[in-house]
Symmetry: D2
Subunit: 137 residues, 4 copies
Amino acid sequence: MLTQHEIQVRVRYEEADPMGFLHHARYFAYFEMGRTEMLRASGGCYRQMEEEGILIVVVRAECRFRKPARYDDLLTVRTTIDRVTPAKIEHRYEVLRDTQCLAEGRTTLAVIDREGRVRRVPEWMQTPEPPPKETLA
Amino acid sequence: MLTQHEIQVRVRYEEADPMGFLHHARYFAYFEMGRTEMLRASGGCYRQMEEEGILIVVVRAECRFRKPARYDDLLTVRTTIDRVTPAKIEHRYEVLRDTQCLAEGRTTLAVIDREGRVRRVPEWMQTPEPPPKETLA
Amino acid sequence: MLTQHEIQVRVRYEEADPMGFLHHARYFAYFEMGRTEMLRASGGCYRQMEEEGILIVVVRAECRFRKPARYDDLLTVRTTIDRVTPAKIEHRYEVLRDTQCLAEGRTTLAVIDREGRVRRVPEWMQTPEPPPKETLA
Amino acid sequence: MLTQHEIQVRVRYEEADPMGFLHHARYFAYFEMGRTEMLRASGGCYRQMEEEGILIVVVRAECRFRKPARYDDLLTVRTTIDRVTPAKIEHRYEVLRDTQCLAEGRTTLAVIDREGRVRRVPEWMQTPEPPPKETLA
């Protein structure tokens, strides 16, 4: 797995609130996109993992909002893996406009199966190894 | 099935756009809530229908926006069944603030199964009969 | 100001994700609804505050997700004011299905004006006094 | 103005519903992104237009949904200007996965000012001329 990855996101009109700012709840969706694209850049594919019955759920999320992002801003979301154990995955996020950091977030993820039972984090997500062939997109 | 039903919806902050208006795409989610609650008021439950493998999909949707709804407005969504055939269900919607009509919509729905195959609209949805026991909430 | 308030929220279809669960980012919008309705129940109105140039922004938000909420669940969002100072307002939230706690959140809010300058939290929000007449809905 | 433009959009997890399909209301947000990016590609900027008091509102929207788009699909949204008069702008949209057309939409837009009064569509939007300097991003 890569341990850091960046994506660009343009703030959509429907994501901005009456102040003209990106609504605070939307940052968590941006974090999710950051994780998904980091996984893809590492050779994995979350949709395929779900099809194989490996569901990744968010068990904790937080964000500090320092400066508002506005409608139509082109933002960078930098996603960093902080720690992976058999039980959980911890990510950090920075939302940047040019070089200015607008927000910083953290999430903790766990793995469950279709019946909702907690499962171990797949081995390849705990190492710098590429994902196994069956989860290649 | 009831053929007309009304719900109240308060416009949420995150649903309003930088003009302070309810974003136009959100009306279609309000229509869906109107349908769901009309079904519930008729004694049915869409979640249970899905669990039984009966998926209702939107095949056509339209809306005319006459006056903007604003953040925090308390709206009435009036849902009317226009026509039900074995192949499709047609609804009409009015979004009202007090007695003023802000928007009018229409949708056409079809029924599919988990494999995506088109299925007949259940008999009880085509009649004024109550839904069968197994779809009672 | 009231210091605790409860609202009921039905999970919408469009708020549920491919797992059938309420998407984690949506909880933060529910918290916002909880705050807004607690303010309304206290005799205030956030829309009117914004019209008067008093903007309340989220500077920090977090949530622990214990059990998933599902599409069509009828949830209770319990909002509690933890602390109000001239600089910030801290809330706590519990999301309940029947008596089971599904998620717990916290937010920290600050007050700014139209130019983005930090302002003091209005006196009446710091006390059990009702809001002044001009912010009555 | 350009009269046709294409963008790529990846379906986000939070945009997919319990069937795993892109929720039907979301297509209208994709259409809006298509219009915004066509304007940008023509040398204009909608955010700047709004700052200058030219608000573009949707007065009618429709969509036919032929095949579902799924979570994580990479879609093409093709936006075409059908007709521009001093009173309104009509667009057409196709949502494609590879060469397969999943949905077709139409919108009618009008121009208003900050007070909600209907205004004429700017001259440059009615012609193949580039937008005036003050609306260049």
